[in-house]
Symmetry: C2
Subunit: 218 residues, 2 copies
DNA sequence: GCTCTATTTATGCAAGCGTATAAATACTCC
DNA sequence: GGAGTATTTATACGCTTGCATAAATAGAGC
């Protein structure tokens, strides 16, 4: 009952990891909702339930927070795709099939993910650190894909020398990226699963093998 | 030699079209160089050689200028691709070939274009007008592609019903977009023309026809 | 329970933003 | 060549931004 009712906000001290995660999550929410421009330190802080000053305690500068958020997005998508692999780990062709359909369906193919990704990509050209982060993610993805492709080809008794698998990986990576883009941007003009089907068919054509049955090429 | 040396900047009155083009060009320079955040009205005006206030005379709000700039980028890329078509307008398969290689080479496959495109795409999700602008551009591109595909298939005496050409257009559009992306982001890790070649091969596989010679499928 | 420190709040600042508006001026038309 | 107008400059306002800093406090360790 003091005359000075200027009560300070009560708070809890959280572990460092937890706070960083919360701040990154809040950042992603902001970017997804109103674009990179909407991700101000004040907005992020409010969404994370803390005051703005705290951000600087965990991230020396806002750009570092943004960069951390970008890495988190990429990692999240990568993990989700790998999860799909772990669910169907028997036949190599089925594994490639699962990998592709996972990347072309929920929750990876989502407008929010695209907004985040595009916002960051726009910075890649200006920020070398961001560019390096991107390249690592891209090459990692392609390497994983190339292994899946090689195993699928071998399983179908098709030639799988590295000079073939490399260009196949480039092409199939493009198919996945391109369809992912189309789906994120205008998912409503495609029927359910249409893009995943289209992708599988195109990839089967490129590789010259079937991914659905064990029969291999007819 | 007046004591009041506060001389006003001298200026020329330009035609409305010229000014709008200049302002859009200046905007694109800013976005390409330092991202959307670097495209401030003051910076844009300076680069266009005018004062900031003038922007508002031609564009009621900054967002409208940004939107106009986005449409200009898309149109520029579309026109460049169409130019390639006009240079090789004999055989339908050669036309498709030319269209693909044009989109996967200079000047379309360029990091600047990607920065511009990505910066704008990040806004699509938040801004309905931008979303409409994008959808129009995308569907226009895909329609043009679908016609090229149909003609190429017919020329090779392959089935070309619309339900086939539609899904082919989706897949091939994805291949082009995906490879364009890869090239823009990391062009230096690919040899010259590698991506265009990869794209052509993948597209030939999807369509089941050859695009290089007149011989059709073997 | 007291102390000490890492964590958090609160406040302020300087810079830059988009926009508004009035004054100046280059060009057009008679 | 003089009047009128469309175009352009110049200036200022109100906001928001990222960042800095000092004061407060929650929770751990003795």
């Amino acid at each position: 009952m003091n005359a000075e009712t200027a009560t300070r906000k009560s708070f809890r001290r959280e572990g460092e990891d937890k706070r960083r995660e919360d701040l990154i999550a809040a950042t992603l929410e902001c970017v997804a909702e109103r674009g990179l421009a909407g991700a101000t330190v004040r907005e992020i802080a409010q969404r994370a339930g803390v005051t703005a000053g705290l951000i600087r305690y965990y991230f020396p500068t806002k750009d570092e927070l943004i960069g951390a958020a970008y890495r988190a997005v990429m990692q999240r998508m990568t993990v989700q795709a790998s999860d799909a692999l772990r669910s169907a780990n028997d036949d190599p062709r089925a594994r490639l099939y699962a990998f592709v359909t996972a990347n072309l369906g929920q929750p990876i193919m989502d407008p929010h993910n695209l907004s985040l990704w595009a916002g960051f990509i726009a910075l890649v050209h200006a920020d070398p650190a961001m560019a390096a982060a991107h390249r690592d993610g891209y090459l990692g993805f392609r390497d994983e894909l190339e292994i899946l492709i090689r195993d699928a080809l071998l399983s179908a008794r098709a030639p799988a020398e590295s000079r073939h698998t490399r260009s196949h990986a480039i092409a199939i990576n493009a198919i996945i990226d391109g369809l992912w883009l189309e789906g994120c941007l205008a998912g409503d003009i495609f029927s359910d699963g249409e893009l995943a089907e289209t992708g599988i068919s195109a990839i089967e054509a490129v590789l010259g093998i079937s991914l659905k049955a064990e029969g291999g090429a007819p």
